[in-house]
């Protein structure tokens, strides 16, 4: 009850005309930043910090503005995933897998509203989790040592096979490529440079945003150029937008998906090393194994394949605030920036934050709720406008995509080297698409490869070289079991399914003969 009255106090702080206006502005800007490839939530928040200070905003209004941008960007990332097959930020990558096929089937409007609702559900329940359980949840984060993290990342890679149903060898190759790219840079455990070739820009490794924008956005532009050979206008029939609001029945059968994905996403968010990308990935792969064992609908525009990653990534962004507020450990780039804002406002995150600065914490949490409702209210009516993007002829859209990619990447570090690297990734993406190699495992490798390696080596340093530490706790053993099941199940089921399909095909052939 005490929590609820504190929350009410928080709402009293947040509910001023100025704060509501700031939340609205933040939500709008955030959605925009999330939707533009290259301009992610972390950069969006960072760009707005000086504005917050220049306006002379106090701690609570500043935080309201910035967290609205944060949540807004998490909502916005899905828009370009669904419409263009280009993820707006890294957690939105998984939304491409079913969101874009839905758009191609003429269900773009439905996919957008459904994912908007999914984002709301994920963020809403995650914020409640933050309110009710933050101090207890920190204990979950503390159960995870290096060995457990290593097992968790292995689990993510082990379930890859279930994701990209086409050719397992090609997804394995793609994942290896991603892990290889993640190895570039100075190795923190020894201080030694790896694959940097003396190039200063590679010391800190390759920014995954560069890889995402190159592999997805630029390669899309290259494919377009190839198909149209410059002048030809080509096939430009307008895409169908379809209904804007999903049917109630569709919504209803997504409810179990939302429930499962909220939990998975939220827990991934709480773990500082995992975050929103792992949240959306695990939500998707689990959902696929639960509701689509035969691999018949996922990847081809199943609404649940859009709902799962969106719930997962938004629940994770709420969850990521738990370690940031209670431990001072940022779980993602964006929370790192928010942490810096708190420090600049002379608020010290940590175990005493809830007792020392309750007005700020509860004002912040109230702001999250407000932002969330605003985003829902802002996003559903805007679906109609977003979908207009599809009516823009490709020959105009593609140059715009290229331009946004260049501006966005240049904005990260202001270096032309990154642009060259992005073009390199664009070419790589084009080649890999020609070879039918899936791109998602590459990004996953880049995102998680480093953490996986570093945690393995931390574990082995701590145990002084004893490998048994990897099975040293019940939690680690549990995750390993899941990883093995996740790896083996699609192989076993896949063979059974093939047999079944062959039987069905011969039966159908027999029918025709008759």
């Amino acid at each position: 009850m005490e929590t609820l009255s504190s929350l009410a106090d928080g709402f009293a702080i947040a509910f001023t005309l100025q704060n509501l206006f700031l939340a609205l502005v933040g939500c709008f800007l955030g959605t925009l930043m999330g939707a533009l490839p290259g301009l992610g939530p972390a950069n969006g928040v960072a760009i707005l910090i000086p504005i917050a200070f220049t306006l002379g905003l106090g701690p609570t209004p500043s935080l309201i503005l910035l967290t609205s941008v944060y949540y807004g960007a998490m909502y916005g990332g899905r828009i370009s995933s669904i419409l263009l097959n280009i993820p707006g930020d890294e957690p939105a990558m998984m939304t491409c897998l079913d969101g874009y096929p839905m758009a191609q089937k003429g269900m773009a409007g439905e996919a957008l509203s459904l994912s908007g609702i999914a984002s709301f559900v994920g963020a809403f329940f995650a914020t409640w989790g933050l309110v009710l359980l933050a101090p207890q949840l920190v204990k979950i984060a503390l159960l995870f040592g290096p060995a457990e993290y290593f097992a968790l990342f292995t689990l993510a890679f082990a379930t890859l096979g279930g994701i990209t149903s086409t050719n397992q060898a090609k997804s394995a190759f793609a994942a290896m490529l991603g892990i290889g790219i993640a190895m570039v840079g100075v190795d923190s455990q020894t201080g030694v440079q790896r694959f940097t070739f003396g190039e200063l820009h590679l010391y800190d490794g390759i920014d995954f945003l560069i890889a995402i924008v190159g592999l997805f956005a630029l390669s899309e532009v290259f494919i377009f150029l190839e198909n149209h050979r410059g002048g030809a206008v080509g096939n430009e029939k307008a895409m169908q937008i379809g209904r804007l609001v999903p049917k109630l029945s569709v919504l209803k059968y997504c409810v179990p998906t939302m429930f499962r994905s909220t939990i998975i996403g939220f827990i991934s968010g709480i773990l500082p090393g995992a975050g929103a990308s792992l949240g959306s990935f695990l939500s998707y792969s689990l959902e696929k194994q639960v509701v689509d064992r035969d691999g018949e609908t996922f990847g081809k525009g199943d609404p649940r394949g859009v709902v799962a990653p969106e719930v997962g990534n938004n629940a994770a962004s709420g969850g990521a605030l738990v370690p940031m507020l209670a431990l001072g450990v940022p779980g993602s780039g964006t929370t790192a920036v928010l942490l810096a804002v708190l420090l600049a406002l002379n608020v010290t995150p940590g175990p005493l934050l809830f007792t020392n600065s309750p007005d700020i914490v509860w004002g912040l949490i109230a702001a999250l709720f407000i932002a969330n409702f605003m985003l829902l209210a802002l996003n559903i009516p805007l679906v109609g406008i977003f979908t207009r993007v599809l009516l823009i002829p490709t020959r105009i859209l593609m140059p715009v995509v290229a331009m946004i990619s260049f501006v966005g990447i240049y904005g990260i570090s202001g270096s032309t080297f990154d642009l060259e690297l992005m073009i390199g990734f664009g070419v790589l993406g084009w080649v890999l698409r020609k070879l039918d190699v899936p791109l998602v495992p590459i990004i996953l490798g880049i995102l998680l490869g480093n953490e996986m390696e570093v945690n393995l080596r931390r574990a082995l340093t701590i145990s002084d070289g004893d490998w048994s530490i990897l099975l040293g706790s019940p939690l680690a053993i549990g995750i390993w079991i899941f990883a093995i099941i996740g790896f083996a199940l699609p192989i076993v089921l896949g063979q059974r399914m093939k047999r079944r399909m062959r039987n069905a095909a011969s039966a159908a052939a027999a029918d025709i003969k008759d």
Partner: protein, 329 residues
């Protein structure tokens, strides 16, 4: 040509009459001042730039506002190379710096760069190192801990927020050296991505000891989650004098992570004077001082010749320890 001559003239005047420098610096006002944080948003360097930008603007030391640019890469090396190669004569530019900058210079981690490629401007604060253990740790004081480390260095794992060779690693190495460990390379150091993660490693019992900065762990000490064994300051900290130093426990180790700024080497004397005075004025501001103390950062001011001498000795010290632990030849 004419402007160039007057510039040289101005330098000569300042050099011969130091007292006149204040006057001439008042005439100089940088246009569109900028602070480069050579890291992603959210780190220590970012904090330096944003704090400086805020106070310089608030105190009307600069015209209008100061832009903060994040230029990450190469552990600050990209920013360093950018400043020394491309903007060597920019008078409106300052760059955030700390121990991380000097230790990378000392260890040759910025290829082809040396400390003389830029002009170190000032320090305005220092965070002292701290050594902490879990609340239920068997190590009661620094002596207990270091005895165990000397007896079997592989039995005690240390976490820290910097890479191997970084400052969180150097602090335990200095302690081990002071305790008489023969081969300090035996020390078991686990590098984490920032002080927060290193703290989590201690709280989750993954490691036994944490090497960090006092300001970063203060909250956890106050809440009773961890126990502070030693502060690596020359004397007990003002306002936090309940915590013993390593020096008074018989280990002569001081670990200060300073916060400061550098500027392009070719910006000219006028700009150097202006920025020196600007940072000096900022450090004299009561609100600024209080905000540093609130954040657990002690005042640590070096300007002009003091700054040059400080940077030189700082780099020499890190070079020496890096050589001993085999990070550099």
């Amino acid at each position: 040509m004419f402007t160039k001559f007057t510039k040289i003239g101005a330098v000569a005047v300042i050099a011969s009459f130091p007292a006149a420098s204040l006057v001439s610096a008042d005439d100089f006002m940088p246009e569109n001042p900028e602070c480069i944080a050579p890291s992603n948003p959210g780190g220590g360097w970012d904090f330096i730039c944003r704090t400086t930008a805020r106070y310089l603007q608030q105190l009307d030391i600069i015209d209008g506002s100061m832009q903060v640019t994040n230029m990450s890469g190469g552990g600050g090396g990209v920013g360093f190379a950018h400043v020394s190669n491309e903007r060597n004569e920019d008078t409106a530019l300052i760059v955030a710096a700390s121990n991380g900058t000097t230790s990378r210079l000392a260890q040759g981690a910025y290829p082809g760069a040396s400390a003389d490629d830029v002009q170190f401007l000032a320090t305005f604060g220092a965070e002292y190192g701290a050594i902490a253990v879990a609340a239920d740790s068997p190590f009661e004081d620094l002596g207990d801990l270091m005895d165990a480390v000397v007896a079997d260095p592989r039995s005690v794992a240390w976490s820290g927020g910097s890479a191997v060779g970084g400052y969180d690693h150097i602090k335990p190495l200095l302690l081990a050296q002071a305790a008489g460990l023969e081969d300090v390379r035996q020390l078991l150091y686990v590098a984490y991505d920032g002080g927060g993660e290193a703290m989590t490693a201690l709280l989750s019992d993954s490691v036994q000891v944490l090497s960090s900065d006092f300001s970063e762990i203060r909250g956890f000490v106050e809440s009773g989650d961890i126990r502070l064994l030693a502060v690596l300051a020359p004397e007990r900290l003002t306002g936090h004098d309940q915590f013993p130093t390593a020096v008074e426990q018989g280990y002569d180790v001081v670990g200060a992570n300073w916060r400061g700024l550098y500027m392009p080497a070719g910006a000219g004397e006028e700009a150097y004077e202006f920025w020196t005075n600007a940072i000096m004025e900022m450090t004299e501001n009561e609100e600024f001082r209080q905000s540093l103390l609130d954040a657990g950062i002690e005042p640590f001011n070096n300007f002009g010749a003091d700054m040059d001498a400080f940077i030189e000795s700082n780099i020499a010290q890190i070079t020496e320890i890096s050589r001993e632990i085999g990070i550099i030849e």
